[in-house]
Symmetry: C2
Subunit: 281 residues, 2 copies
Protein backbone atom coordinates (compact mmCIF):
# COMPACT_ATOMS: atom_id res chain seq x y z
CA UNK A 1 0.00 0.00 0.00
CA UNK A 2 2.80 2.35 0.90
CA UNK A 3 3.98 2.75 -2.67
CA UNK A 4 0.66 3.83 -4.20
CA UNK A 5 0.49 7.17 -6.01
CA UNK A 6 -2.93 8.83 -5.88
CA UNK A 7 -4.38 10.86 -8.76
CA UNK A 8 -7.78 12.13 -9.88
CA UNK A 9 -9.55 10.31 -12.71
CA UNK A 10 -9.74 6.81 -14.16
CA UNK A 11 -6.74 4.56 -14.88
CA UNK A 12 -4.96 5.97 -17.93
CA UNK A 13 -5.77 9.62 -17.21
CA UNK A 14 -3.13 12.22 -18.11
CA UNK A 15 -2.26 12.38 -14.40
CA UNK A 16 -1.17 8.73 -14.63
CA UNK A 17 1.04 9.64 -17.58
CA UNK A 18 2.56 12.38 -15.40
CA UNK A 19 3.06 9.88 -12.54
CA UNK A 20 4.94 7.52 -14.87
CA UNK A 21 7.08 10.35 -16.19
CA UNK A 22 7.97 11.33 -12.61
CA UNK A 23 8.33 7.88 -11.04
CA UNK A 24 8.80 5.30 -13.77
CA UNK A 25 6.62 2.97 -15.79
CA UNK A 26 5.98 0.54 -12.94
CA UNK A 27 4.34 3.11 -10.67
CA UNK A 28 1.41 1.64 -8.74
CA UNK A 29 -1.52 4.04 -8.73
CA UNK A 30 -4.62 4.83 -6.71
CA UNK A 31 -7.31 6.50 -8.89
CA UNK A 32 -9.61 8.88 -6.96
CA UNK A 33 -12.88 10.56 -7.83
CA UNK A 34 -12.14 14.09 -6.59
CA UNK A 35 -9.00 16.15 -6.16
CA UNK A 36 -9.88 16.39 -2.48
CA UNK A 37 -9.80 12.57 -2.25
CA UNK A 38 -6.31 12.59 -3.78
CA UNK A 39 -5.00 14.92 -1.08
CA UNK A 40 -6.83 13.02 1.67
CA UNK A 41 -5.40 9.67 0.50
CA UNK A 42 -1.91 11.03 0.91
CA UNK A 43 -2.68 12.79 4.20
CA UNK A 44 -4.11 9.62 5.76
CA UNK A 45 -1.33 7.37 4.46
CA UNK A 46 -3.51 5.40 2.05
CA UNK A 47 -1.15 6.61 -0.67
CA UNK A 48 2.57 7.33 -0.49
CA UNK A 49 2.44 10.17 -2.98
CA UNK A 50 0.03 12.18 -5.10
CA UNK A 51 0.18 13.67 -8.58
CA UNK A 52 -2.04 16.68 -9.30
CA UNK A 53 -2.36 19.08 -12.26
CA UNK A 54 -1.61 22.68 -11.31
CA UNK A 55 -1.86 24.59 -14.61
CA UNK A 56 -2.55 24.10 -18.29
CA UNK A 57 -1.30 26.22 -21.17
CA UNK A 58 -4.83 26.70 -22.57
CA UNK A 59 -7.00 26.53 -19.45
CA UNK A 60 -4.90 28.29 -16.79
CA UNK A 61 -4.15 27.50 -13.15
CA UNK A 62 -6.15 24.90 -11.24
CA UNK A 63 -7.13 27.11 -8.31
CA UNK A 64 -8.82 24.21 -6.55
CA UNK A 65 -5.49 22.41 -6.17
CA UNK A 66 -3.78 25.56 -4.88
CA UNK A 67 -6.50 25.61 -2.21
CA UNK A 68 -5.87 21.96 -1.30
CA UNK A 69 -2.09 22.52 -1.20
CA UNK A 70 -2.61 25.16 1.46
CA UNK A 71 -5.24 23.28 3.41
CA UNK A 72 -3.59 19.84 3.51
CA UNK A 73 -0.01 21.17 3.88
CA UNK A 74 1.48 18.43 1.73
CA UNK A 75 4.77 19.58 0.20
CA UNK A 76 5.56 19.63 -3.52
CA UNK A 77 8.69 17.53 -4.13
CA UNK A 78 8.81 17.42 -7.95
CA UNK A 79 7.19 18.89 -11.06
CA UNK A 80 6.77 17.78 -14.66
CA UNK A 81 5.02 18.97 -17.78
CA UNK A 82 3.01 16.62 -20.02
CA UNK A 83 1.91 17.41 -23.54
CA UNK A 84 -1.77 16.60 -23.89
CA UNK A 85 -1.85 14.25 -26.90
CA UNK A 86 -5.30 12.99 -27.86
CA UNK A 87 -5.45 9.64 -29.65
CA UNK A 88 -8.37 7.93 -31.37
CA UNK A 89 -8.59 4.54 -29.66
CA UNK A 90 -10.72 1.48 -30.51
CA UNK A 91 -10.92 -2.18 -29.59
CA UNK A 92 -8.36 -4.43 -31.21
CA UNK A 93 -9.52 -5.47 -34.66
CA UNK A 94 -11.92 -2.58 -35.20
CA UNK A 95 -10.83 -0.59 -38.27
CA UNK A 96 -11.19 3.17 -38.66
CA UNK A 97 -13.79 2.72 -41.43
CA UNK A 98 -16.22 1.13 -38.93
CA UNK A 99 -16.14 4.01 -36.45
CA UNK A 100 -19.49 5.81 -36.30
CA UNK A 101 -19.31 7.27 -32.79
CA UNK A 102 -16.51 8.75 -30.70
CA UNK A 103 -16.76 9.05 -26.92
CA UNK A 104 -14.68 11.30 -24.68
CA UNK A 105 -14.77 14.14 -22.18
CA UNK A 106 -16.31 17.22 -23.87
CA UNK A 107 -13.10 19.21 -23.35
CA UNK A 108 -11.14 16.54 -25.26
CA UNK A 109 -13.82 16.38 -28.00
CA UNK A 110 -13.61 20.15 -28.36
CA UNK A 111 -9.83 19.99 -28.64
CA UNK A 112 -10.17 17.72 -31.71
CA UNK A 113 -12.59 19.81 -33.80
CA UNK A 114 -10.35 19.72 -36.89
CA UNK A 115 -10.48 15.92 -36.82
CA UNK A 116 -14.29 15.97 -36.60
CA UNK A 117 -14.55 18.56 -39.39
CA UNK A 118 -12.48 16.24 -41.60
CA UNK A 119 -14.63 13.22 -40.60
CA UNK A 120 -18.23 14.48 -40.59
CA UNK A 121 -19.60 10.92 -40.65
CA UNK A 122 -18.44 10.44 -37.05
CA UNK A 123 -20.75 11.44 -34.21
CA UNK A 124 -19.24 12.99 -31.06
CA UNK A 125 -20.65 11.70 -27.77
CA UNK A 126 -19.68 13.24 -24.43
CA UNK A 127 -18.41 10.89 -21.75
CA UNK A 128 -17.35 11.24 -18.14
CA UNK A 129 -13.63 11.22 -18.75
CA UNK A 130 -11.10 10.46 -21.46
CA UNK A 131 -9.59 7.23 -20.10
CA UNK A 132 -12.98 6.01 -18.85
CA UNK A 133 -14.33 6.20 -22.40
CA UNK A 134 -11.64 3.71 -23.51
CA UNK A 135 -12.57 1.40 -20.64
CA UNK A 136 -16.24 1.57 -21.66
CA UNK A 137 -15.76 0.73 -25.36
CA UNK A 138 -13.55 -2.23 -24.41
CA UNK A 139 -15.87 -3.56 -21.68
CA UNK A 140 -18.91 -3.22 -23.92
CA UNK A 141 -16.96 -4.71 -26.88
CA UNK A 142 -18.11 -1.88 -29.14
CA UNK A 143 -17.33 -2.43 -32.81
CA UNK A 144 -18.81 0.86 -34.06
CA UNK A 145 -17.20 3.21 -31.56
CA UNK A 146 -13.88 4.72 -30.54
CA UNK A 147 -12.67 6.88 -27.66
CA UNK A 148 -10.30 9.84 -27.40
CA UNK A 149 -7.68 9.49 -24.67
CA UNK A 150 -3.99 9.18 -23.82
CA UNK A 151 -1.70 6.45 -25.17
CA UNK A 152 -1.42 5.12 -21.60
CA UNK A 153 -5.19 4.52 -21.55
CA UNK A 154 -4.95 2.43 -24.75
CA UNK A 155 -2.19 0.34 -23.18
CA UNK A 156 -3.98 -0.16 -19.84
CA UNK A 157 -7.28 -1.29 -21.35
CA UNK A 158 -5.66 -3.34 -24.12
CA UNK A 159 -7.06 -1.19 -26.91
CA UNK A 160 -5.47 0.02 -30.12
CA UNK A 161 -4.60 3.53 -31.30
CA UNK A 162 -6.22 4.16 -34.70
CA UNK A 163 -5.06 7.76 -35.12
CA UNK A 164 -2.33 9.42 -33.07
CA UNK A 165 -2.32 13.04 -31.98
CA UNK A 166 -5.63 14.25 -33.39
CA UNK A 167 -5.71 17.37 -31.18
CA UNK A 168 -6.03 20.66 -33.09
CA UNK A 169 -3.56 22.61 -30.92
CA UNK A 170 -0.22 21.00 -30.07
CA UNK A 171 0.68 23.76 -27.63
CA UNK A 172 -1.41 22.08 -24.95
CA UNK A 173 0.67 21.19 -21.90
CA UNK A 174 -0.31 20.47 -18.32
CA UNK A 175 2.10 21.02 -15.43
CA UNK A 176 1.82 18.47 -12.60
CA UNK A 177 3.15 18.43 -9.05
CA UNK A 178 4.26 15.35 -7.13
CA UNK A 179 3.37 15.60 -3.45
CA UNK A 180 4.66 13.56 -0.51
CA UNK A 181 3.99 13.57 3.20
CA UNK A 182 6.37 15.95 4.99
CA UNK A 183 8.19 13.04 6.66
CA UNK A 184 9.05 11.53 3.27
CA UNK A 185 9.85 14.89 1.74
CA UNK A 186 12.34 15.56 4.60
CA UNK A 187 10.82 19.03 4.82
CA UNK A 188 12.65 20.17 1.63
CA UNK A 189 14.69 17.92 -0.62
CA UNK A 190 18.42 18.13 -0.13
CA UNK A 191 20.36 19.78 -2.94
CA UNK A 192 22.06 17.31 -5.24
CA UNK A 193 24.46 18.20 -8.06
CA UNK A 194 25.63 21.71 -8.82
CA UNK A 195 23.94 21.67 -12.19
CA UNK A 196 20.48 20.99 -10.83
CA UNK A 197 18.19 24.01 -10.86
CA UNK A 198 15.64 24.30 -8.08
CA UNK A 199 12.30 25.97 -7.85
CA UNK A 200 10.42 27.20 -4.81
CA UNK A 201 6.64 27.74 -4.88
CA UNK A 202 4.76 29.93 -2.44
CA UNK A 203 1.50 31.75 -1.86
CA UNK A 204 1.09 35.04 -0.04
CA UNK A 205 -1.30 37.92 0.51
CA UNK A 206 -0.42 41.60 0.87
CA UNK A 207 -2.28 44.54 2.32
CA UNK A 208 -4.43 46.29 -0.22
CA UNK A 209 -2.44 49.45 -0.84
CA UNK A 210 -1.10 50.65 -4.21
CA UNK A 211 2.36 49.27 -4.79
CA UNK A 212 2.00 46.43 -2.26
CA UNK A 213 2.84 43.77 -4.85
CA UNK A 214 5.67 45.93 -6.21
CA UNK A 215 7.21 46.05 -2.73
CA UNK A 216 6.69 42.30 -2.28
CA UNK A 217 8.48 41.59 -5.55
CA UNK A 218 11.38 43.78 -4.46
CA UNK A 219 12.25 40.98 -2.02
CA UNK A 220 13.19 38.87 -5.05
CA UNK A 221 14.42 41.55 -7.47
CA UNK A 222 16.89 42.97 -4.94
CA UNK A 223 18.48 39.50 -4.70
CA UNK A 224 18.48 38.82 -8.46
CA UNK A 225 16.11 35.90 -8.02
CA UNK A 226 14.16 35.06 -11.21
CA UNK A 227 10.44 34.51 -11.01
CA UNK A 228 8.97 31.77 -13.19
CA UNK A 229 5.36 32.41 -12.17
CA UNK A 230 3.33 35.19 -10.63
CA UNK A 231 -0.43 35.23 -10.53
CA UNK A 232 -2.98 37.18 -8.55
CA UNK A 233 -6.22 35.62 -7.46
CA UNK A 234 -9.03 37.76 -6.08
CA UNK A 235 -10.25 36.58 -2.68
CA UNK A 236 -14.04 36.28 -2.89
CA UNK A 237 -15.93 37.77 0.01
CA UNK A 238 -12.89 39.97 0.67
CA UNK A 239 -13.09 42.66 -1.97
CA UNK A 240 -9.71 44.16 -2.82
CA UNK A 241 -7.75 41.36 -1.24
CA UNK A 242 -5.63 39.14 -3.40
CA UNK A 243 -3.77 35.90 -2.98
CA UNK A 244 -0.58 35.61 -5.03
CA UNK A 245 1.00 32.46 -6.44
CA UNK A 246 4.73 32.88 -6.95
CA UNK A 247 7.45 30.48 -8.15
CA UNK A 248 11.10 31.51 -8.14
CA UNK A 249 14.28 29.81 -9.27
CA UNK A 250 16.37 28.85 -6.27
CA UNK A 251 16.65 26.38 -3.41
CA UNK A 252 14.96 27.47 -0.22
CA UNK A 253 18.19 26.85 1.76
CA UNK A 254 20.18 29.31 -0.40
CA UNK A 255 21.10 32.45 1.59
CA UNK A 256 19.53 34.70 -1.07
CA UNK A 257 16.27 32.77 -0.97
CA UNK A 258 16.24 32.85 2.83
CA UNK A 259 16.78 36.60 2.81
CA UNK A 260 14.08 37.11 0.18
CA UNK A 261 11.57 35.09 2.23
CA UNK A 262 12.43 36.95 5.43
CA UNK A 263 11.99 40.23 3.57
CA UNK A 264 8.67 39.07 2.09
CA UNK A 265 7.47 38.03 5.56
CA UNK A 266 7.78 41.66 6.65
CA UNK A 267 5.47 42.74 3.82
CA UNK A 268 2.99 39.88 3.53
CA UNK A 269 -0.02 39.31 5.75
CA UNK A 270 0.13 35.59 5.02
CA UNK A 271 2.92 33.52 3.49
CA UNK A 272 3.20 29.80 2.91
CA UNK A 273 5.94 27.88 1.13
CA UNK A 274 4.28 25.07 -0.87
CA UNK A 275 7.50 23.26 -1.72
CA UNK A 276 11.06 23.33 -3.03
CA UNK A 277 11.83 20.88 -5.82
CA UNK A 278 14.11 20.24 -8.80
CA UNK A 279 13.08 22.16 -11.88
CA UNK A 280 11.30 19.64 -14.09
CA UNK A 281 11.24 18.88 -17.79
CA UNK B 1 -28.68 41.42 -37.53
CA UNK B 2 -26.64 44.33 -36.25
CA UNK B 3 -27.84 43.91 -32.69
CA UNK B 4 -26.84 40.25 -32.19
CA UNK B 5 -24.47 39.39 -29.34
CA UNK B 6 -22.27 36.34 -30.03
CA UNK B 7 -21.28 33.85 -27.33
CA UNK B 8 -19.93 30.29 -27.14
CA UNK B 9 -22.33 27.48 -26.22
CA UNK B 10 -26.02 26.66 -26.57
CA UNK B 11 -28.88 29.09 -25.81
CA UNK B 12 -29.08 29.45 -22.02
CA UNK B 13 -25.35 29.04 -21.38
CA UNK B 14 -23.81 31.10 -18.57
CA UNK B 15 -22.42 33.43 -21.25
CA UNK B 16 -26.02 34.30 -22.19
CA UNK B 17 -26.70 35.09 -18.54
CA UNK B 18 -23.68 37.42 -18.63
CA UNK B 19 -24.95 39.03 -21.86
CA UNK B 20 -28.31 39.74 -20.21
CA UNK B 21 -26.63 41.18 -17.14
CA UNK B 22 -24.54 43.47 -19.35
CA UNK B 23 -27.13 44.45 -21.96
CA UNK B 24 -30.60 43.70 -20.61
CA UNK B 25 -33.09 40.86 -20.74
CA UNK B 26 -34.09 41.45 -24.36
CA UNK B 27 -30.61 40.92 -25.77
CA UNK B 28 -30.69 39.03 -29.07
CA UNK B 29 -27.97 36.40 -29.16
CA UNK B 30 -25.92 34.40 -31.66
CA UNK B 31 -24.75 31.09 -30.14
CA UNK B 32 -21.44 29.83 -31.60
CA UNK B 33 -19.66 26.48 -31.39
CA UNK B 34 -16.13 27.71 -30.65
CA UNK B 35 -14.66 30.78 -28.99
CA UNK B 36 -12.89 31.51 -32.26
CA UNK B 37 -16.27 31.65 -34.02
CA UNK B 38 -17.46 34.18 -31.44
CA UNK B 39 -14.57 36.53 -32.22
CA UNK B 40 -14.91 35.98 -35.97
CA UNK B 41 -18.65 36.76 -35.86
CA UNK B 42 -17.89 40.13 -34.34
CA UNK B 43 -14.91 40.82 -36.62
CA UNK B 44 -16.93 40.13 -39.77
CA UNK B 45 -19.96 42.10 -38.59
CA UNK B 46 -22.28 39.09 -38.24
CA UNK B 47 -22.64 40.10 -34.58
CA UNK B 48 -22.59 43.59 -33.07
CA UNK B 49 -20.95 42.45 -29.85
CA UNK B 50 -19.48 39.39 -28.16
CA UNK B 51 -19.49 38.09 -24.60
CA UNK B 52 -16.62 35.80 -23.56
CA UNK B 53 -15.52 34.30 -20.24
CA UNK B 54 -12.01 35.40 -19.23
CA UNK B 55 -11.50 33.82 -15.80
CA UNK B 56 -13.20 31.64 -13.22
CA UNK B 57 -12.60 31.60 -9.47
CA UNK B 58 -12.07 27.81 -9.44
CA UNK B 59 -10.64 27.10 -12.89
CA UNK B 60 -8.43 30.13 -13.59
CA UNK B 61 -7.89 32.34 -16.64
CA UNK B 62 -9.17 31.31 -20.06
CA UNK B 63 -5.87 31.66 -21.92
CA UNK B 64 -7.53 30.84 -25.22
CA UNK B 65 -9.62 34.01 -25.05
CA UNK B 66 -6.59 36.13 -24.16
CA UNK B 67 -5.03 34.78 -27.37
CA UNK B 68 -8.11 35.69 -29.40
CA UNK B 69 -8.26 39.17 -27.83
CA UNK B 70 -4.75 39.84 -29.11
CA UNK B 71 -5.25 38.23 -32.51
CA UNK B 72 -8.62 39.76 -33.39
CA UNK B 73 -7.91 43.18 -31.83
CA UNK B 74 -11.49 43.61 -30.63
CA UNK B 75 -11.62 45.97 -27.65
CA UNK B 76 -13.14 45.16 -24.28
CA UNK B 77 -15.84 47.72 -23.47
CA UNK B 78 -17.41 46.23 -20.33
CA UNK B 79 -16.97 43.48 -17.74
CA UNK B 80 -19.24 41.59 -15.39
CA UNK B 81 -19.05 38.71 -12.96
CA UNK B 82 -21.65 35.93 -12.84
CA UNK B 83 -22.07 33.49 -10.01
CA UNK B 84 -22.27 29.96 -11.44
CA UNK B 85 -25.51 28.65 -9.96
CA UNK B 86 -26.41 25.09 -10.95
CA UNK B 87 -30.10 24.20 -10.93
CA UNK B 88 -31.77 20.82 -11.31
CA UNK B 89 -34.17 21.30 -14.23
CA UNK B 90 -36.87 18.96 -15.58
CA UNK B 91 -39.83 19.12 -17.94
CA UNK B 92 -42.93 20.77 -16.60
CA UNK B 93 -44.97 18.27 -14.61
CA UNK B 94 -42.11 15.89 -13.82
CA UNK B 95 -41.68 15.64 -10.04
CA UNK B 96 -38.34 15.18 -8.29
CA UNK B 97 -39.33 11.69 -7.15
CA UNK B 98 -39.39 10.46 -10.78
CA UNK B 99 -35.86 11.59 -11.60
CA UNK B 100 -33.55 8.62 -12.21
CA UNK B 101 -30.91 10.25 -14.43
CA UNK B 102 -29.32 13.68 -14.51
CA UNK B 103 -27.58 15.01 -17.62
CA UNK B 104 -25.05 17.84 -17.77
CA UNK B 105 -21.52 18.82 -18.69
CA UNK B 106 -19.09 16.75 -16.57
CA UNK B 107 -17.66 19.90 -14.98
CA UNK B 108 -21.14 20.88 -13.78
CA UNK B 109 -21.86 17.32 -12.57
CA UNK B 110 -18.60 17.39 -10.63
CA UNK B 111 -19.53 20.72 -9.06
CA UNK B 112 -22.69 19.12 -7.58
CA UNK B 113 -21.13 16.07 -5.90
CA UNK B 114 -22.79 16.83 -2.54
CA UNK B 115 -26.19 16.72 -4.23
CA UNK B 116 -25.38 13.33 -5.78
CA UNK B 117 -24.04 11.97 -2.48
CA UNK B 118 -27.35 12.93 -0.86
CA UNK B 119 -29.33 11.34 -3.74
CA UNK B 120 -27.55 8.09 -4.56
CA UNK B 121 -30.55 6.77 -6.51
CA UNK B 122 -29.82 9.31 -9.27
CA UNK B 123 -27.43 8.40 -12.06
CA UNK B 124 -25.11 11.09 -13.46
CA UNK B 125 -24.79 11.14 -17.24
CA UNK B 126 -22.31 13.41 -19.03
CA UNK B 127 -23.65 15.64 -21.76
CA UNK B 128 -22.16 18.11 -24.21
CA UNK B 129 -23.07 21.24 -22.34
CA UNK B 130 -25.24 22.43 -19.47
CA UNK B 131 -27.92 24.35 -21.40
CA UNK B 132 -27.95 21.75 -24.19
CA UNK B 133 -28.89 19.06 -21.68
CA UNK B 134 -32.05 21.03 -20.79
CA UNK B 135 -32.90 21.34 -24.49
CA UNK B 136 -32.46 17.58 -24.93
CA UNK B 137 -34.71 16.48 -22.04
CA UNK B 138 -37.44 18.87 -23.25
CA UNK B 139 -37.17 17.86 -26.92
CA UNK B 140 -37.19 14.17 -26.04
CA UNK B 141 -39.99 14.72 -23.49
CA UNK B 142 -38.07 12.75 -20.85
CA UNK B 143 -40.12 11.94 -17.76
CA UNK B 144 -37.32 10.12 -15.89
CA UNK B 145 -34.53 12.64 -16.37
CA UNK B 146 -33.38 16.10 -15.36
CA UNK B 147 -30.56 18.41 -16.40
CA UNK B 148 -28.20 20.71 -14.51
CA UNK B 149 -27.95 24.21 -15.95
CA UNK B 150 -28.56 27.94 -15.43
CA UNK B 151 -31.97 29.43 -14.60
CA UNK B 152 -31.87 31.14 -18.01
CA UNK B 153 -31.73 27.73 -19.70
CA UNK B 154 -34.87 26.61 -17.82
CA UNK B 155 -36.67 29.75 -18.99
CA UNK B 156 -35.55 29.51 -22.63
CA UNK B 157 -36.55 25.86 -23.05
CA UNK B 158 -39.74 26.17 -21.02
CA UNK B 159 -38.60 23.75 -18.33
CA UNK B 160 -39.00 23.89 -14.57
CA UNK B 161 -36.41 24.23 -11.80
CA UNK B 162 -36.85 21.36 -9.31
CA UNK B 163 -33.94 22.28 -7.04
CA UNK B 164 -32.15 25.63 -7.02
CA UNK B 165 -28.44 26.14 -6.44
CA UNK B 166 -27.29 22.53 -5.98
CA UNK B 167 -23.60 23.39 -6.54
CA UNK B 168 -21.29 22.34 -3.69
CA UNK B 169 -19.12 25.49 -3.77
CA UNK B 170 -20.88 28.87 -3.89
CA UNK B 171 -17.61 30.72 -4.43
CA UNK B 172 -17.76 29.90 -8.12
CA UNK B 173 -17.79 33.06 -10.24
CA UNK B 174 -16.91 33.66 -13.86
CA UNK B 175 -15.78 37.05 -15.14
CA UNK B 176 -16.95 37.96 -18.65
CA UNK B 177 -15.90 40.65 -21.11
CA UNK B 178 -18.16 42.42 -23.58
CA UNK B 179 -16.35 43.16 -26.84
CA UNK B 180 -17.32 45.52 -29.65
CA UNK B 181 -15.79 46.46 -32.97
CA UNK B 182 -13.38 49.38 -32.54
CA UNK B 183 -15.71 51.70 -34.47
CA UNK B 184 -18.55 51.05 -32.01
CA UNK B 185 -16.23 51.18 -29.03
CA UNK B 186 -14.99 54.64 -30.14
CA UNK B 187 -11.49 53.36 -29.41
CA UNK B 188 -11.97 53.73 -25.65
CA UNK B 189 -15.25 54.63 -23.97
CA UNK B 190 -15.52 58.23 -22.88
CA UNK B 191 -15.45 58.84 -19.14
CA UNK B 192 -18.87 59.40 -17.64
CA UNK B 193 -19.60 60.41 -14.05
CA UNK B 194 -16.94 61.20 -11.50
CA UNK B 195 -17.93 58.25 -9.38
CA UNK B 196 -17.39 55.64 -12.07
CA UNK B 197 -14.23 53.59 -11.61
CA UNK B 198 -12.47 52.44 -14.77
CA UNK B 199 -10.25 49.51 -15.50
CA UNK B 200 -7.64 49.08 -18.19
CA UNK B 201 -6.48 45.62 -19.33
CA UNK B 202 -3.24 44.95 -21.13
CA UNK B 203 -0.77 42.23 -22.06
CA UNK B 204 2.99 42.65 -22.33
CA UNK B 205 6.23 40.72 -22.48
CA UNK B 206 9.54 41.70 -20.91
CA UNK B 207 13.09 40.65 -21.57
CA UNK B 208 14.09 37.63 -19.55
CA UNK B 209 16.34 39.20 -16.95
CA UNK B 210 15.92 39.01 -13.18
CA UNK B 211 13.85 41.92 -11.96
CA UNK B 212 12.30 42.64 -15.38
CA UNK B 213 8.75 42.29 -14.03
CA UNK B 214 9.68 44.31 -10.95
CA UNK B 215 10.83 47.17 -13.17
CA UNK B 216 7.70 46.84 -15.32
CA UNK B 217 5.47 47.11 -12.24
CA UNK B 218 7.35 50.21 -11.12
CA UNK B 219 5.59 52.01 -14.00
CA UNK B 220 2.36 51.58 -12.02
CA UNK B 221 3.65 51.69 -8.44
CA UNK B 222 5.45 55.01 -9.01
CA UNK B 223 2.11 56.54 -10.06
CA UNK B 224 0.06 54.97 -7.25
CA UNK B 225 -2.01 52.96 -9.73
CA UNK B 226 -3.62 49.87 -8.18
CA UNK B 227 -3.37 46.56 -9.97
CA UNK B 228 -6.42 44.29 -9.89
CA UNK B 229 -4.79 41.43 -11.82
CA UNK B 230 -1.31 40.26 -12.68
CA UNK B 231 -0.56 36.88 -14.18
CA UNK B 232 2.42 35.39 -15.97
CA UNK B 233 2.01 32.90 -18.74
CA UNK B 234 4.97 30.94 -20.04
CA UNK B 235 5.40 31.24 -23.81
CA UNK B 236 5.74 27.73 -25.19
CA UNK B 237 8.54 27.22 -27.66
CA UNK B 238 10.24 30.28 -26.14
CA UNK B 239 11.70 29.00 -22.88
CA UNK B 240 12.14 31.75 -20.32
CA UNK B 241 9.83 34.14 -22.05
CA UNK B 242 6.62 35.16 -20.39
CA UNK B 243 3.51 37.02 -21.38
CA UNK B 244 1.89 39.04 -18.60
CA UNK B 245 -1.78 39.87 -18.17
CA UNK B 246 -2.27 43.05 -16.17
CA UNK B 247 -5.39 45.01 -15.16
CA UNK B 248 -5.12 48.34 -13.36
CA UNK B 249 -7.67 50.75 -11.96
CA UNK B 250 -7.78 53.89 -14.06
CA UNK B 251 -8.97 55.32 -17.35
CA UNK B 252 -6.45 55.14 -20.16
CA UNK B 253 -6.85 58.88 -20.83
CA UNK B 254 -5.81 59.82 -17.28
CA UNK B 255 -2.38 61.49 -17.26
CA UNK B 256 -1.06 58.96 -14.68
CA UNK B 257 -2.18 56.03 -16.81
CA UNK B 258 -0.66 57.60 -19.93
CA UNK B 259 2.64 58.12 -18.14
CA UNK B 260 2.59 54.56 -16.78
CA UNK B 261 1.99 53.12 -20.25
CA UNK B 262 4.74 55.25 -21.79
CA UNK B 263 7.08 54.09 -19.04
CA UNK B 264 6.06 50.45 -19.55
CA UNK B 265 6.66 50.80 -23.31
CA UNK B 266 10.32 51.57 -22.55
CA UNK B 267 10.63 48.28 -20.63
CA UNK B 268 8.37 45.89 -22.52
CA UNK B 269 9.25 44.09 -25.74
CA UNK B 270 5.58 43.91 -26.64
CA UNK B 271 2.61 45.77 -25.19
CA UNK B 272 -1.03 45.77 -26.19
CA UNK B 273 -3.96 47.50 -24.50
CA UNK B 274 -6.95 45.13 -24.64
CA UNK B 275 -9.50 47.69 -23.49
CA UNK B 276 -10.57 50.37 -21.05
CA UNK B 277 -14.01 49.89 -19.50
CA UNK B 278 -16.14 50.74 -16.46
CA UNK B 279 -15.37 48.52 -13.47
CA UNK B 280 -18.18 45.96 -13.39
CA UNK B 281 -20.28 44.35 -10.69
Amino acid sequence: MRSLIAFQGARGAFSEEAARKLLGLKTQVLPCERFEDVFRSLKTGKAAGAVVPIENTLAGSVHENYDHLQRFELPIVAETSVRIVHNLIAQNGVPFSKIKKVYSHPVALNQCLDFFSANPQIERIPFYDTAGSVKMIVEEARTDAAAIASAVAAEIYGARILRRSIESDRQNFTRFFLLRKPVYARRHPVKAGRNQSWKTSLVFTTRNIPGALFRALSAFALRDLSLTKIESRPLRGKPWEYLFYLDFLGHIDDPGAQNALNHLRELADYLRVLGCYPQGA
